[in-house]
Symmetry: C2
Subunit: 171 residues, 2 copies
């Protein structure tokens, strides 16, 4: 599904961005649509169309395609700490062997909300959301460290969320 046959002809001539990551390239209009929805995920299609210079139906189709392709998702986001009784932490992971497979295994855990491969003194950064301290302990010490290839971990328990935005497009 990701490794489509784009590599044939003169694919090397095109912007290599598409071959490096999964998503198809986005034009300026789709970018503008995403910006609109980053400000307000429920903004009407007609209003978006007026903002980006497109018809309502055109916006609708492009939004649907962006959602289907997994390029973007429209969701409610909260601060779990504010919403209630939960422990949250960022966990740095060091891996020996294949990093991808470890990332895959961690992504399969429902408690891991955010998994990213990094360069630096950690190979992976993982954000975990737990019910309480016992649950957090269990996830970090029994589940994550039990994954084959995990050499060591370091935890940063969240004390307070200070900022959380998704408007990288608008500045």
């Amino acid at each position: 599904m990701h490794s489509e046959a784009v590599a044939s002809r003169s694919a090397d001539q095109k912007d290599s961005r598409e071959s490096r990551n999964g998503g198809p390239q986005l034009d300026a209009v789709s970018l503008a649509i995403i910006e609109q929805l980053q400000e307000d995920g429920r903004r009407p299609y007609a209003a978006i169309g007026k903002a980006v210079g497109l018809s309502e139906a055109a916006v609708r189709q492009r939004v649907q395609k962006l959602l289907d392709q997994g390029v973007m998702q429209i969701v409610a986001v909260t601060d779990p700490l504010t919403v209630g009784f939960r422990r949250q932490a960022m966990v740095g992971v060091n891996v020996e062997g294949d990093v991808e497979s470890v990332a895959e295994a961690l992504s399969a855990m429902s408690e891991c909300e955010y998994v990213v491969m990094t360069a630096g003194s950690f190979d992976l950064m993982v954000e975990v959301v737990c019910e309480d301290d016992d649950h957090l302990l269990e996830v970090i010490n029994r589940r994550i460290r039990a994954v084959p290839g995990v050499r060591s971990t370091e935890s940063f328990v969240y004390l307070k969320l200070k900022k959380q935005t998704y408007m990288w497009g608008t500045r």
Copy 2:
């Protein structure tokens, strides 16, 4: 705006969670509404009402209040690396002196998308989104390290986002 006079009367008697974090306490119905919107931020109010046992208008009022209070936001989220040409990194920060004020200063920067106070070998974790390598260098070495109280930083450049979900409520 944040320091309202809640501290008067018998405030100490109420559940201390509210005084520790910003948000007022949420009942089971609001939680259920949030769960619905975590699955699909554009789900119609009537459908949510049917799912949680409330009228359409009641759902609408609750959602509006949750948005106004800043408890939740309904937005489009993407992987910036997928959407295009950007450098992203997690930055661990060590602080001497007041951590809050440093967090405040970092939150004011538009490149800092995510700022959280932590316990562990970092006092703050900051996610930064940049145009390119030059921009990233500028933000980390000139802007973040220039904030009074910042003792040191360590950077983890994002290579690939593996997982990104917001459905902590549904499991």
